[in-house]
Structure formats: C-alpha cells, structure tokens
Symmetry: C2
C-alpha cells in the first residue's frame, strides 16, 4: 500500500495516491476527473475551483485532517480579493495535497456538466461542446531561431492541449501578430474540435486571458419561421432566444411553391438563398442584441431544417426535390465554414447541419429524433412533427422507421373557412354539450370560457376573429362526440341533429360555432372545413399506419407530438378525429419544438452529432408516395376516427355516437340551396 | 511453380503469375506497376496503353507466343477508329493475359513519369501531382434508399480510388446535381490529395469522361516581377510562361520602402495585398490566354516569394519584418483555399506556399534549395540567389546553412551613375585591354562587340543607353584587371593609369567607357559607382563567409548563381571583384530562376513538398545582422577581391595588378575639381 496521501474525488468517486505537494488539479487530471481548467494551472482562469471536505468519512474509509491541503496562497488571495472565492472553495491548481483528502468538484467546475431539461421523459444533456478555450504563454521570437509566431503559438497549444495537428483559419493569419503583442505573448485560443477525425482548428484568439463566455447558436430554419437559441457554451444555458418570419415567404407560403419559384425563375433559387441568409443574419443581430454580446462571440452554430430549406440555405437549387425520386444533393451531416454560408458570426465558425433522413424527411426530423430519442425508447413510440408536412418516426431500441406525409396547411388554419393563424382572437378550445349541442369556447388571449362571466369584456380588445389549428381539431372532434358530425364527416341538418346551429349551406350543412356580433361575422364550421381536416389527418394517420405495417404492429405504446402546433393539440380530440393511432390518452405527450431542441443538443454535445449521424444511417426510410397500401390506409383514415381501425382504447374513454347523415344523395343534403346561375 | 502465365513488365522488371483472362491493367495494379488509368478499366480513358513484346526473351527466360494476349476487341477497335492507337499498342484494361508475356509500359502511360530538366547537374523531376482525375459511374437515386447524390458519388469514388474519407468543397454542392445528370450518372472527378495527412478532397467535377488535361501554376512572386509557369499536370510540361511587373512597385521599389508604406499609411498593407492579388489574377488571365485554356482548368498553384511578399500576399501586415527580431507571422508551408487569396482559378484549388526559412530568407530561398538541392550535394556548394537581397545557402549532404545579406539594388543597376535595368541598349559585356586600357563592349540587342564592323548600324535603333548589372560587374572587374582600379577600389588618375579615359571628377577619378555621340551622353564609371558595387559585393561575400565560418571551412567546392541576374554574371569577373569565394571557374554555374524552378518542382511532385518542409526545418539559420564577425568580413570584402582572403585559384588564372592609387588624401584624389560654392 502506498504511503502517499489518498485523494478521493466526488461525485466521481475516483481515487488515487499522490505524493505530498501534488496540486489537486494534477491529481484530477491523472485520475481523469472532470475538472475544468483553461489556463493549465497558471492560476489565471479560476475554473478549477474545488471544495475540500474535512473530518471522518467512514464511507470512503478516510479521516481528513484540517491540514490535508496546503495553506491558502497568494494566488488564491489575489483571486479572492478581486472576484471573491465562494467560502470553502480552493483553486485546484494552487492547493496541493498534504494528507488524505476528499475533494468535491462542484458542477460549475466540471467541463462535462449536465444541462437539465424540463421534461421528465427525456434525458438531460451532457455538456461537451466543440469549442474550448485555452490560455497559453507563447515563446517570444528569437532571430537566432527564426520560427514564425504562429508556429510558436502552435507549440504552446500543443503543450497545453496535446494536439499536435491544430489547423489554423486563414483569417487568423492576419490577426495573429497584433494579438500576440497586445497580450504580451499570452493569449487565449478557441480550439474547435468536432466529433469527426478532422484535426482541431484554432478558430479564434484573444490577447491575454479571455474569460469568455463563448456562445453557440442553435437554429431551427423552418419554412415559415426561423427560430434561434443562443447558448453559453460553458454552462449550456440558453441566454437568448429569437425568432422571425422566414423572408422566403415572399417567394411562396409553402415549400412546393418555393421549389416552383426556383423552376420558373432563372436564378430564383439564389434569390431565395440570399433571402434566407439575410434572415439568419437578422436573427444573429437580434439575438446578439438581446444577449448584449457581439456576434463575433458566436463560435459554433447548428442548423436543422427540412430538405428544401436545407438546399436553399446551402445555395443548392431544390429542383430535384420537386419531383420523383426526390434526390437530395447531399444527405449526410455537413460542417461548413459559416463564412461560406454568408453568416456574420465569428469568422472561424463552422456551421453544422444535421443529416437529412430522406428527400422529404429533413434535418429537422433528425433533430426531433435526437431530442426524442425513439431509438432509446423501451416502449414503441410514435413521434409526429406536425406541420404542413408531417414527419413521422416510429420506433424503439430495436429500430426506428421514418416517413413524411403531405398533410398540407389545414392544421395551421389554412383552407378552413374561418381558419386563421394562432393569434389573439382565435378560438383555440371548444366544448359542445352532447345533449343541447350548444358550444362554449376559449379565445387566445383570455382564460375564460365563452359562457363565463366577464368573457365579453375580456375579449373586447381582440374580438373573436376565427379558429386556429388546435381549435379546428377540437370543434370537429366535439361535433363528432356530440353527434353533429357522423363518422363519414358529414354534418347533419338541423332536423337530423336537433339544433338550429346546423343549417343548410349550399349542398351541405354547416354548424354555427359563434353567432357573430355587430362588428364581426358569425364563425361557422362548414362541411368543406371538415373535408380539409379529414384529408390532412388521413395523410398523417396513413403515414403512421404504414410505419406500423412495416414494423408489424397494430398499436403503439405512446405518441409524442412535436412542433409548435403539437404543443397545443388536445390528445383526446386528436384521437377522436383519428389523427393519431389509438393509445392511452396519458401516453400522448407534447415535445414542443423538438427539432430546435435537437439542434441545441447537437450544439452542446458533439457526441450527439455522432449519435444522430449513426441513427439516421440506421433509420429505415419509407417513401409513402410509392407504398401500395398508402391509398387504402388513406381511405380508411378519412373516416372519423377510422373505418377500419377500431380504436378500442379511445372508445373506452369517450362515446362516439353511431349517427349517419348520408341521405343517399351523395355528399350533399338534397334539400340544400343551390347557387343560382347568373342569368 | 505456378502454371499460370508469367507476366513481366518493363521497364520496372516487376513480374508475377496471373490466371488466363486477367486484364493487363489488373496484373499491373496487383504488382504495383506504374500504369495510368483514369476510368478504372472501363475502356473510356485509354490512358493504360501498353506495348506487348513477342518472341524469345532469354534475359527474362520466357518465350512469348503471338497469342499471349487476347484478341484485339471491340473497345480497342472503337478507340482506334476514333483516335488511332499507335501501332503495336494495346489497351491494358482490354487485353487479357493468355500466356507468358512481356509488356512494356511506355512513358506516356506512366503516372509517375520523369520530367527531364535541361541542366546536367540537377535531378529530373518525378511527376507526382496533387491532383488526379478519376472517371466513375454513380448509382442513380432511388427513393427507397434515399441517400444524397453526393453520398453515392463518394461511394463510387471510394470504390475507384480506395479513399474512404474524401472531403468536398462547398462550391461543388451547388454544381453537383446538374453535372451528374448532364453526364447521365457518369462523371470525372478531380481528387486533390497533398503530401500531408489532410484527407483527399473532391475539388472539381465534369460530366461524363473528361480527358483533361488539368493544369497547375507555379509562381515566383518577386518584389519586382511576378513570373508564372503553367504546367500540364499529366505530362509535367510547361505549356505557357508569363511575367509581369509586380503592381506593388507603385508603393515602393524595394521591400523596405513597402514595409514603410504599410507603417506610414493606415490600410497600406491591404492596398498592397489587393495590388499583388490583382497582379496575380492578371498573370492568370495572360497565361491562360497564351495556353488557350480556361482559368478554371488551373487546379493547383504553388508560390515562392520573399517574406515581405509572402506576408503581403497572405494579407498580413509586414510591420514585424521591418524591425528586429524580424518575426514572421508564420514560417511553415501553407496550403490555403485559392479563393481565400482572391485568386480567380478553379474554385476548389489550394494554393501551396513553400515554407519561409527565416525573417529575411523566404520561400523563394526554399525554392532555390529545392531546385538546387545543396542537401544532396556530395561536394560543398554555395548557392547564391542574387537580387536586392541575396539569399545564401551553403551545404552538402552533411547539412545546410542559410542566411541573407542586404546587397541593395546596385547589382540591378540602381545607385550606379550610368546604371539601368537589363534592356536593349544597355552595355552587358566589357573587355579592357590591360596594355592600352581601351575598352570594347557589347550591348543588349546585338551580338557584335563595339569594335566590330557594323556595330554602329546594329545598335542604331536602341543606341547605347547605360550599363546593366552584369555590365557593371564586368567593367569594374576589367578595370581592376587592367590596373585602372586598385585593390581598395580607387580609380587612378590619367597620370597614374596612363590613359586619358581616366579623368578627375570631383574629388575622385572616373573612367570613360564610351564617349557618347550627338544623341547620347558619354557613359562613365565613377568612383561612387565602384563604392556602391563594393558595398553590395562585400555584403554578399560576408554572408557567404559567415556561413563558411559556421561550417568551419575556408573554401567551397562549387558556386551556383541563381536568379535572373546570376544567369548573366561572368564567373571570372564576379570572382575578380570578390563577390563570390575563390573556387575553380568551371565550378561556378548559373541556375537561372531557381526559385521559380523550385515552385515548379513542388507543383509537379508533392513529395518534394515534404522534402523541402523537412529540409527547411533542418537548415541552420544565421542572422547576419547580429553576427559579430560580419563587420570584419565586410571590411575585408570591401577590397577587390579581398584584403584578407587570398583567392589563390583566381590568382592562378588572372593577373591582378598590384597598383595603389591612394595619394594619402583620403579617398579623393587631392588634385580633383571641387564643386564651386554658389555665390
């Protein structure tokens, strides 16, 4: 047994014997304990703070005496005077081992700290960014040994980091000499090393000791909105979030109209590339202003987006994505100089784009997969990112399948007579009394129901302007539950339903959700609205059902709804419509912007990049457009909830009236008004 | 012993047994025989032409029958119809082994062919460029296996080249899909792989089979002139050469005045960077026009230059190079995207800059070292690149030393009263009769001596306009040999020398080389001219002498004069002046633009890049400015030829008159005219 003192680190439990006088930082490094240090033990950075514990430790079998560490020294005193060292803390590079000792490494001193996520069902993120700061002192030039300043800097960095092959960005060649001299031959270097074999790169340099922090940007580049999170790469914290409309919207609301724009207009793809890059730079300006930082402090950036946005962002004509076989120019993850993508952040930054899964299943779906990790799920999870195109993942730890399904914009309130985007004044929640068929509803901007006292006053400012996506789901599902709509999607007449809220409207019936007032028209649900939602939800469900076929199952254990829309959908109502497969309602959860979360995970933990790249290669991709059973599933899924799948769990929870309003005259009510011909 | 046929390749002598039916190309590859193929044996490229030999081969111990190779096939017939196959040749990928066979690989079919250099004393260059073309057929997209077009291309390239980790330039992402489709899924790829561990890169792509050639540019970026050679990377041939004045000249003739310009003018360095890059792009345009190619066919570029030009080209302020300790921002070799250097050549090209040796000894000196290879010399070689700054290398295979010496512009005709650049009308050769002290000379533009019949007519167009650098050396050396100038550099009076061509000129004497005519002033050599040359040659000689001290020798075996000026210097005259150390005259050779040749070698053979990087690290660098003995050597070297070193070999060849014109009145002749004071 060694007679050297025993050093025990918590929480890792790593232990070893070290000679008297060994700095705690040295002991930690030799044991592989995760203890941060930027300056390599020069007493400059104070990142290596530790908390010694004294007394009896029966669990560890040691007794720690008061003199187990060296005395508080001048460097520690200077730091304490200047910045204040938390009571009980020591600097690991200054305090040396004198006797058996138990040392706790607080979370702030760990490089690979955990970033806690708010949702119970998902893993926390282990911080392991691509960029690390290193403080070094560089040998001064000597005309008798005429090496370049850069070469001496690299020698110092090699000694500090162990990297023998650090590459250097061209932009630093110019900046190097003034920085070295301004820092009197001491500099802080940002070393970028990603998850691949690519050699590490010197990506930024500051004179003297630069405390940081440095930042990374995680971006979800959506067709409609661009959302970004700015993260402190040393803590993992989101320090600012910002979003803006994708400026490409002027070239077309949906993706296919943008692809068409590129096809119809020479150079149109480049116009759209310029537009989205401008938008991203606006995001950078906004978010940097919010966080009160300079955009050049942004040293990493991760992007998720659908394939069309992916190509347009890269400057690739999306032409091929508009036609079978939907060939991606490139599907693998990419790491590209941010400057080549026109981004005004730190010039040495590499932009990382998550891999695309397939021609219709983009890096955004990869982001969802990274965030929701169906591949690590014990039970079979269906993950649906609901948007104008739904990306669907089905899997567990035995394997994951993916497809996309063209739901169209109905879920976002488009194609719906009273539809609107989710905004104050929009009806978002609906209940219909099955006995009276009378509705009540809630409007974005107020927590009151429409039959609550004070409702009129509460919504006076916004009025009642329409129905948003989640409201549409609820009202149709409630109509189905109240027997106002039958399983085929037909609205009954006043006579059939026993309520005057149903009225003949052309060849079909409509339902009056709100009667209107002096300022605003009534809000009704037409049979065409129901048809639009039927088409959209049938597309979504058939995609999921195809994956279930491929997997050989007829039910799933849980459903995760991702995307902003998914966050507002009521599980019960979605299931009444047959949007999602039958499953216990408490097993339907919302993941929020999971694609964006995936980008943030890949930003904070480079191992997650390897993970998602491996997963995407392994995911089984299904192209719904050419699957023979898609059509059959689609027809069945047009019914509410479904004409083939029984939904037993749902039926155990709700009562689905067995009504039928088909009077034999096709879809339309035969007694309906016809449009008069112009004479 | 194998019963399979024996295949013997010449000139390599490699041999092996292969089953009947093995294509010759396959046999060559398995034996490691250097046989070219771009298309990997698809019968597309015809690069693998071989010449089978038939009959008895006692040397190889085989008899080759007429049916030792398969019959001429349809692919060969098609190629012959279209292009004509040289009689006796076969395509190595089509002809298969049927019996024992001797196969010659002609030089054109070798990848690593020799590029012959004209000078006897130097090695030929083995062709081994960084860029190779590969023809591949790419799997078409399949929506059931939705990989990107790029990923399928890389799979095909991996199969063809064995490279698993080919990187792709961002600019190709955009170009990829149209090229693949234009080529109907067959493409020719340029793969760039340099001499380092950096993964190979896909740097250019053409639809279908692209025959090439592709080109590389070797540039000697001088302070005064920029010279470029365009080389065919498949043959090593120089297909065009071009030169232009360095546009930076408007910021200062010599380097130090450019450094001053950068110091005195904010942004001045960037102006000069822009100017030199503009100049390089002009060179590219000129040379591409000469060769009738498109600049985008230039897929490699190598640069040599002095440290100040090196920094200005890279966009680095040369400030630090203007003061001790003359710190280079970066000294190692660099490989940078040509686009980041503003060069308008193929967008994927990397520009390679040879390493700098020291703050005053640049990549141009490294180019000289690569071309002249003192490190491989059996005898001790002194290599001098003569310019406004002389770079000096001394060494043999036991080691190499380097320094630079500030010779100033006198050797280029500046600071000389009748001096001018080498151009028609300039006196370049001089002889003086030791008895009569009468000169005769030759003028650039005519081969006649001035006392030849027809001389006047021959030079009528240009006149006699001045003396160029090599003319200055000759006239002063001839004056020394004729006893007109003494060892201390003083011109004798008419009385002392016995010729009226010497005349009092201020406080010293001058010598009339040409009397002038109605149109032009006389051309004289003043004592100030001689002083200027003395300073310059003393600087040069002292640098060489210092290296000899360090090496512990007092003579060298041979002298190589590099640089355009070196090409025109007469060895005898240079040695009479004591410019170069004493050595047999036939051991003084001229290397021409050795720096440029070094660039060309590094362009054509990537192994030469490793070689020069290794050599430069090993070279012992001497900073003359701080060597205590420099001053002593300089004073001794001010004499003609030298006041300390005896020059015995030279004295065995020429007669150096023991004259002395010092009359005790200091430098000046006491009886000389004085300038009259203005009254």
């Amino acid at each position: 047994m060694s007679s050297d003192p025993l050093v025990i680190f918590t929480p890792s439990g790593k232990r070893g014997h070290f000679p008297v006088g060994t700095p705690v930082l040295t002991a930690a490094r030799q044991l592989g304990v995760d203890l941060d240090s930027v300056c390599g033990g020069r007493g400059v950075c104070s990142k290596c703070q530790i908390t010694p514990s004294y007394g009896e430790f029966p669990k560890h079998g040691v007794t720690v005496s008061e003199d187990a560490l060296s005395d508080w020294n001048a460097v520690e005193q200077r730091y304490d005077d200047k910045r204040g060292l938390t009571k009980g803390r020591r600097l690991g590079c200054q305090a040396t081992v004198q006797g058996d000792i138990v040392i706790d490494v607080p979370p702030e001193s760990q490089v690979h700290k955990q970033v806690v996520r708010k949702r119970a069902e998902v893993r926390d993120i282990t911080l392991n960014p691509t960029v690390h700061l290193t403080y070094v002192e560089v040998e001064e030039p000597d005309m008798h040994k005429p090496s370049g300043d850069l070469e001496r800097l690299l020698t110092a960095l090699k000694a500090a980091t162990g990297h023998a092959d650090i590459a250097v960005d061209t932009h630093l060649l110019r900046a190097l000499q003034p920085i070295l001299r301004k820092g009197s031959w001491a500099v802080t270097a940002a070393i970028h090393q990603d998850h691949t074999d690519t050699p590490p790169r010197l990506s930024a340099l500051w004179p003297g000791y630069f405390e940081g922090p440095v930042y990374g940007l995680a971006v979800d580049l959506g067709s409609t909105t661009i959302a970004g999170h700015l993260c402190d790469l040393t803590t993992g914290e989101v320090v600012a979030s910002s979003g803006l409309m994708n400026p490409q919207i002027r070239f077309g609301e949906d993706l296919m109209s943008r692809v068409s724009y590129a096809m119809m207009n020479k150079g149109g793809d480049l116009e759209m590339t310029a537009a989205v890059r401008d938008g991203l730079n606006q995001l950078v300006v906004d978010i940097a202003k919010d966080a009160e930082i300079d955009p050049t402090q942004i040293l990493d950036a991760v992007f998720v987006m659908n394939p069309v946005m992916h190509h347009l962002f890269l400057g690739i004509d999306p032409f091929e994505l508009g036609q079978a076989p939907f060939a991606l120019a490139t599907s693998d993850a990419l790491s590209l100089p941010a400057s080549e993508l026109g981004l005004n952040i730190a010039p040495g930054t590499r932009a990382y784009l998550l891999p695309c899964i397939a021609g219709h299943v983009g890096a955004d779906a990869a982001g969802v997969a990274l965030s929701e990790a169906p591949d690590k799920s014990e039970d079979l999870a269906l993950v649906v990112d609901v948007g104008t195109n739904a990306e669907i993942l089905l899997g567990d730890k035995n394997g994951v399948l993916a497809c996309s399904s063209p739901t169209g914009p109905a879920f976002e309130g488009a194609q719906i007579s009273a539809g609107q985007r989710a905004a104050p004044g929009a009806i978002e929640r609906v209940e219909i009394d099955p006995a009276t068929k009378e509705p009540r509803f809630r409007v974005i901007g107020s927590d009151l129901w429409s039959n609550d006292e004070g409702f009129a006053a509460a919504i006076a400012a916004t009025g009642i302007t329409g129905i948003c996506g989640s409201g549409i789901i609820e009202v149709i599902a409630e109509m189905r539950l109240a027997g106002i709509v039958d399983a085929s999607g037909l609205i009954g007449s006043a006579e059939q339903t026993g309520t005057s809220r149903c009225f003949a409207d052309g060849r079909t019936n409509s339902y009056t959700l709100w009667e209107g007032d002096a300022d605003q028209k009534p809000i009704t649900v037409t049979n065409a609205d129901i048809r639009a939602i039927q088409m959209a939800k049938a597309a979504l469900y058939s995609g999921a059902r195809l994956l279930m076929d491929k997997r050989g199952v007829d039910h799933v254990d849980r459903v995760v709804l991702a995307g902003a829309f998914g966050a507002h959908i009521s599980a019960k109502h979605a299931m009444v419509l047959g949007m999602i497969p039958d499953c216990p309602l408490d097993k339907v959860t919302s993941a929020g912007n999971a694609a964006g979360t995936g980008a943030r995970i890949a930003l904070l933990n480079k191992d997650a990049r390897s993970e998602i790249e491996t997963l995407v290669r392994k995911i089984e991709k299904i192209e719904t457009a050419v699957e023979p059973r898609f059509q059959e599933h689609f027809v069945n899924a047009s019914a509410l909830p479904n004409s083939a799948d029984p939904f037993p769990i749902l039926r155990g929870v709700v009562d689905l009236p067995e009504v039928s309003f088909n009077t034999g005259g096709g879809d339309g009510a035969s007694g309906g008004r016809r449009r008069r011909r112009r004479s």
